[in-house]
């Protein structure tokens, strides 16, 4: 009798072949799905690793001269994507004619508005945000000290286009921070016209294209 229905027939050869099939198929598929990276992919991977390192802790700076609200949305998205710590600070510059802890209700009110807006943006993006109001004689020094204290990887500053040349097109404070910071600095300049491809009314015909 060759066939014995409804009985299990386990043999050493059968077990070995079964194992061989599972190992061979799974290792083949694994090998196929892990090809070596190309030069371009290696570059991209290095950039991604660099980004992770770069945005471990992000500080967004606001002050009377630094308008960063438009950069806050970008910072929030970056922080969410890279799971970074996000801190928004508002620096109130206290003039030397006043004591360091002088009350400055107008400026403090402006700081609360700016940080409130920053919090709304962060909440909308689903990231948690710490905020801090700092009074200092010099905005640049306050930012650099805070960046050192927080071990910040990235300082984000918002700028605006000045109407005339002043020697520091992005604003003197911003340029000084960018020059002296020990970490990466991202400066966002708010565009006036939306897109370079958009032709302003009245400019038609002046283009060379």
């Amino acid at each position: 009798m060759i066939y014995q229905n409804a009985t299990v027939h386990i043999t050493i050869a059968g077990v070995l072949i079964a194992l061989l099939i599972v190992v061979a198929i799974s290792s083949t598929i694994w090998w196929m799905l892990h090809p070596p990276a190309s030069f371009i992919q290696k570059l991209a991977r290095e950039a991604a690793t660099e980004l992770e390192r770069m945005v471990g802790s992000i500080v967004v700076v606001f002050s009377a001269d630094i308008l960063s609200t438009h950069m806050m949305a970008l910072a929030a998205k970056l922080a969410r994507g890279e799971r970074s710590e996000l801190l928004a600070i508002y620096v109130i510059e206290v003039p030397y004619s006043l004591p360091p802890d002088a009350e400055m209700p107008l400026e403090e009110r402006g700081a609360l508005d700016a940080l409130g807006a920053a919090e709304s943006i962060a909440t909308a993006s689903g990231v948690s945000l710490r905020t801090e109001i700092i009074k200092s004689r010099l905005t640049k020094q306050a930012v650099l000290d805070l960046a050192k204290r927080e071990r910040a990887n990235l300082i984000i500053l918002g700028s605006f286009r000045e109407g005339k040349y002043t020697g520091a097109p992005l604003g003197r404070t911003i340029e000084e921070i960018a020059a002296d910071a020990k970490c990466d600095v991202l400066i966002g300049v708010e565009g006036k016209h939306g897109t370079l491809l958009y032709e302003e009314p009245g400019q038609a015909g002046t283009s060379n294209s």
């Binding site: 066939y3 229905n5 059968g14």
Partner: protein, 539 residues
């Protein structure tokens, strides 16, 4: 002057996408091939699969090298065109077209066979008309879907392929674990060894289980980093299919059945392989073997017919769009009339190609179904074709088309090693003999020659053992050659010689489009160095 670039296919096919593209074509073959081979080669089915498998490995390596070197959508037809010239490119492409039309017919047929496991009302042996109507309905449906531009999504393709790889691994490993008897395997091989004629027929049908590598080449133009990815996906596909085919054949010959096998038509007891290989069951052998796996078979009995039917339908669909795509590529290369390039105004699909080649598939289905539909035709087939009909008829033609196109691909590979030694080859078939040819260092591929001998033997077996295949197959090629000559004469192009083409410029463009910029630089450097050696100007 307009500087608008022609739109290019988006490179969105990932390694798994490339694998599943090929798997949904080749992976479905074993669902059809297993029963056919068991029916023909009996106790030597595993050896038949081994022989065809060795040839298939050579074919796979050849396709891998060529697809990685020339990542374009034309596949085998393009390689032969480039290596051997217009007329051989046409014959190879025309044979591939035959295979694609058979693909449509055979897999739709087998899809209904698998469905009949759950819906006996559409089973071919007892309800030939409902089986025939459903098969033709599926083919017409696929044609309509392709004309209006609906295709299964790549994600769905990938999902079904993944499910099938897991399922087949489970069936085979559990089958060997719980029901394999080495003694029974040896006993079956000794007691049921076929005659040489049957063995040759078995080998020629075993190649059916390995047809479809063309699909990976077809997708090359849309694959990310094709020169690096395609060698991996092709190799993985070759190994996976080979493991499955050899395992199924050995399991079918040496499996202790879990359920009793029905008696044969004469009331005699039969062995598992005999039951799987008879005309009633050879179209759904995998589903039946899965049912015999202890414990797992209870689940497999329900899902394997459905999974098999879906995979076979996807494969049939790949025949529908593959044939139109090849026809488009051949028409672009001036090998077929430009009517095959014509795009439907509203749906933006090659409607004429789709209608013509699904029409051919329908004719093939009618020829295959005639003996079961009409007793007088059955007598005629018995008299002239040894009673061959149904899935066997389609299998014959499938083997013929594949063996013909693969033979040309091997020759083209050897020719291209000599005529185009400058193209960088990220992957090369192993075992090469270095030599010099026209001042260039070239490598002669030994494996390609072995593969050519193997596939030519299979082609010879097909012609010797298949009465329909030896008439219908060469007739298809002869008809195509006449069509080709008429077309070339009307165009005023040379009949036998090839038209002039700038292969160097084309190769740079191919590599640029493929995103293989390092290879492109290497190719340009090779060309410059070669031109300097010859003292000519650089391009």
């Amino acid at each position: 002057m307009s500087n608008v670039r022609k739109p290019e296919l988006r490179r969105s096919v990932t390694p798994w996408g490339s694998f599943s593209w090929g798997y949904s074509d080749v992976g479905a073959d074993i669902f059809v091939g297993l029963g056919l081979v068991l029916g023909a080669a009996a106790g030597a089915s595993n050896v038949a699969f081994l022989f065809a498998g060795i040839v298939y490995v050579c074919i796979g390596l050849a396709y891998t090298e060529l697809a990685a070197t020339y990542p374009v959508a034309g596949g085998g037809q393009y390689f032969v065109l480039r290596g051997l010239g217009d007329i051989f490119g046409f014959i190879a492409g025309w044979a591939v077209l035959l295979d694609f039309t058979i693909d449509i017919a055979l897999f739709s047929w087998s899809c209904v066979d698998y469905l009949s496991e759950l819906l006996p009302q559409v089973g071919a042996p007892f309800h030939p008309w409902s089986h025939f109507i459903l098969v033709t309905g599926l083919i017409v449906g696929l044609c309509v879907l392709n004309i209006i531009g609906v295709r299964e999504s790549t994600a769905f393709n990938g999902f079904v392929s993944a499910l099938d790889v897991v399922s087949e691994t489970a069936i085979l490993s559990l089958g060997f674990l719980f029901a394999f008897s080495p003694d029974l395997l040896v006993h079956t091989m000794q007691s049921s060894w076929p005659t040489p004629f049957e063995f040759m027929k078995g080998i020629s049908l075993a190649i059916v289980s390995f047809v479809g590598l063309e699909s990976i080449s077809q997708a090359a133009e849309e694959t990310q980093r094709p020169a690096s990815i395609i060698p991996r996906t092709s190799t993985a596909l070759i190994l996976t299919i080979l493991i499955f085919a050899l395992s199924y054949a050995n399991l079918a010959l040496g499996m202790q059945t879990w359920h009793p096998i029905p008696l044969d038509a004469h009331g005699h007891p039969q062995m598992l392989w005999q039951w799987l290989g008879n005309n009633d069951n050879n179209g759904k052998a995998v589903a039946l073997i899965a049912r015999q796996v202890p414990y797992w078979g209870a689940i497999a009995a329900f899902y394997v017919p459905v999974l098999g039917a879906i995979l076979l339908l996807i494969s049939s669909n790949s025949g529908v769009f593959g044939s139109s795509r090849i026809a488009y590529a051949m028409a672009s290369g001036g090998l077929l009339p430009s009517i095959f390039q014509r795009i439907h105004g509203r749906y933006r699909t090659p409607m004429i190609s789709l209608l013509v080649f699904t029409g051919v598939a329908l004719i093939e289905v009618i020829f295959a179904a005639l003996p079961s539909l009409s007793p007088s035709m059955a007598e005629l087939y018995t008299k002239y074709f040894h009673g061959e009909g149904g899935i066997g008829f389609l299998g014959d033609l499938y083997a013929f088309g594949a063996a013909t196109s693969y033979s040309f691909v091997f020759v083209a590979l050897v020719a291209l090693r000599f005529t185009d030694p400058l193209s960088p080859r990220r992957f090369k078939i192993p075992i090469n003999i270095p030599m010099r040819f026209r001042g260039e260092r070239v490598e002669f591929p030994v494996v390609a020659v072995l593969g050519f001998i193997g596939i030519t033997a299979i082609l010879a077996f097909t012609l010797i053992t298949h009465p329909i295949g030896r008439i219908a197959g060469p007739s298809w090629i002869a008809f195509g050659i006449i069509l080709y000559f008429v077309y070339r004469k009307r165009k005023g192009w040379p009949l036998f010689r090839s038209r002039k083409r700038d292969w160097r410029g084309e190769q740079i463009e191919i590599l640029r489009r493929a995103g293989e910029l390092e290879l492109m630089d290497e190719y340009v450097a090779n060309v410059r160095a070669s031109d300097e050696r010859r003292g000519g100007s650089t391009r």
